[in-house]
């Protein structure tokens, strides 16, 4: 995706537009959360407060599952928060691009930081090094503005329906497709492929690590593997 340095308004709408495909993903995911939450004994009010306040579907599902297993509060919180630890990495990855924005804006952006807004933004920032801070901020806002209403409305619809959606619709697979769609355009070079491979193998190896920390362990190993591959390629280029 090429970005031409045009008006500020268009950066917002570009971010908005680039996230429209994820409506296909966010809507069924929200719907499913609404249904599952009411089945787990949440009121519609509780479901909506949670979905608007947390805005992190996978951790919300984790919390619900553990609640239904009658796990202790502390375990539920630790495990669900571990699922969200990846967002600290997203937060760090955005610092070189959005770190110069005022603190108030950054505090707001922290709320806007979801998988889709991170992935689409970092892609456009990487492909367009000449983007200004203001354009970057507007793109980021546009991406979240595109996603939040769909997430809230679909959750509400799911909570109101409240009935089980037949498994034939395979809504469980909306999230995996989402993450594939987010990460595939990031596969720019061999080091990225190596990192992705290490991430998958690592997650499977550490699958039973406590508080679902396996993903974070695997992610660290994957980043190291990516960087080492990159450094190895650079050294080889120098020697040639």
């Amino acid at each position: 995706m090429k970005f031409s340095p045009t008006s500020k308004k268009s950066a917002f709408w570009l971010g908005y537009r680039d996230n429209i495909p994820f409506w296909l993903i966010v809507a069924p995911f929200g719907l499913l959360f609404g249904v599952v939450a009411t089945e787990a004994g949440f009121s519609i009010f509780q479901t909506m407060i949670m979905t608007a306040f947390v805005v992190a579907g996978s951790s919300q599902f984790t919390a619900l599952t553990l609640l239904q297993d009658d796990a202790p509060t502390f375990i539920i919180l630790a495990t669900s928060l571990a699922v969200n630890l990846r967002m600290a990495m997203y937060s760090a990855a955005l610092v070189p691009h959005l770190g110069r924005a005022p603190l108030g804006i950054r505090a707001l952006f922290a709320y806007f930081l979801v998988d889709q807004s991170y992935a689409t933004s970092i892609n456009i920032y990487t492909n367009n090094p000449k983007m200004t801070l203001s354009q970057k901020c507007r793109y980021f806002m546009g991406s979240f503005a595109c996603l939040l209403p769909v997430w809230l409305i679909s959750t509400l619809v799911g909570a109101l329906l409240g009935t089980k959606i037949p498994p034939e619709y395979a809504l469980d697979f909306a999230m995996p497709i989402c993450f594939i769609a987010l990460s595939a355009p990031m596969m720019r070079s061999l080091p990225h492929f190596i990192a992705a491979l290490v991430s998958m193998i690592g997650t499977l190896v550490f699958i039973s690590a406590p508080y679902s920390s396996g993903l974070i362990i695997a992610a660290f190993l994957a980043m190291i593997a990516g960087v080492q591959t990159e450094n190895w390629q650079k050294r080889r280029l120098k020697n040639d």
Partner: protein
């Protein structure tokens, strides 16, 4: 049935905790320069996290009782290939969903 107070406690602390995680670097580091080696690692965050998130759903999907499932596997492969080929999330999503429903329709 879970007591409402437990639900509220979980909503509250999960919300606050998640916000603080998101705020962490973006909020506290701000415009201070991060070390070069650190930024080099950050370039791999997306590809280091997301494939790992997907893989358990692929290998042990809950919906099939935890066994490998052809439609889901093929859908994932289609989404991945189209995403790389077209460099676009839209194509990836469309390919993934179409292959998923098509293969489920054919196989059942």
């Amino acid at each position: 049935m879970t007591e409402p107070i437990k639900i509220w406690i979980i909503i509250f602390f999960l919300g606050i905790g998640t916000y603080l995680i998101r705020f962490s670097f973006l909020g506290l580091v701000g415009d201070r320069q991060l070390p070069k080696w650190f930024i080099q690692h950050l370039n791999f965050v997306g590809v280091a996290v997301m494939p790992g998130l997907i893989i358990p759903f692929l290998v042990w999907p809950d919906a099939t009782g935890g066994t490998l499932d052809a439609p889901r596997l093929l859908a994932a492969i289609a989404a991945f290939c189209f995403g790389i080929w077209k460099r676009s999330a839209l194509w990836s999503v469309i390919a993934g969903i179409s292959v998923l429903y098509l293969t489920m329709f054919i196989l059942n």
